[in-house]
Subunit: 152 residues, 2 copies
């Protein structure tokens, strides 16, 4: 079984509502390599509706993009530094410095959506990631993140 990026986070950083394996109330999003890019799949529960019951609210869209983005930043940075998450080195962790999201169309509830990440640049402790959230092969939202490594 392939572990997700989030499975390598140290226990003290594993409580995120969006992607922490130690948060029983949360989404527990799991992000993986997909060639040179990254991918996560998630089905948004009905309670996270927007104003109308059929579509996700903007906060959940932002949440999934944010958590997949910081996880992807850690994976991209590790690979750029010549090792991989899950190797012998302490996993690097990233926080969001800035995130821009363009909402292009409604995001459906109750069916699988796909979140992707693509490395834009990795310079020192700063990683830029381009993100999408798609459903039924149509992009619902696009994101761009500046993530910054902390600790280490």
């Amino acid at each position: 079984m392939t572990l997700a990026f989030q499975d390598y986070y140290p226990e003290r950083f594993s409580h995120c509502f969006g992607c922490g394996r130690s948060n029983p109330h949360g989404h527990q999003l799991k992000s993986y390599w997909n060639g040179e890019d990254t991918i996560a799949r998630f089905t948004i529960p009905a309670m996270y509706s927007g104003g109308v019951p059929d579509n996700a609210y903007g906060g959940t869209v932002a949440s999934l993009i944010d958590c997949h983005g910081t996880a992807s930043a850690a994976a991209f940075a590790s690979r750029a530094q010549g090792h991989e998450l899950g190797g012998e080195q302490e996993p690097v962790r990233f926080v969001t410095a800035s995130l821009t999201i363009d909402y292009l169309r409604p995001t459906p509830l109750g069916e699988e959506v796909t979140v992707t990440g693509k490395l834009i640049s990795a310079e020192g402790r700063k990683v830029r990631v381009a993100l999408t959230l798609s459903a039924r092969d149509a992009v619902c939202a696009k994101g761009e993140m500046l993530a910054v490594q902390f600790g280490g």
Copy 2:
């Protein structure tokens, strides 16, 4: 009792997890006038932690800014058009086209945070809003939203 902007949303648009009065699972954020600007107050429950248990995860920060932003856009647009939410006209509703958030410092859980909105511009169906989320008189996150009116 002063009604919040969200209290004027028609029933069919009242199901948002972030601010819908008809969503029993959600935050039910309430936004109000504060002079020429807007304000909402909220205490983030412990379950919405980030990687560490003491701080909010980025998704909740984005959620509060997003919901306060679209509510503020509706209020600003109504006033710019010479009427007020809660007047005789059908309330205008706005959706987020684009949202940028800069995360400046951790957002605490379990204590009141304040979200503010300031009108940048209102042109036709497009409203730009500057947003902040603060705790203990320090700004934790800044946002800028482009909101677009729909329907009507």
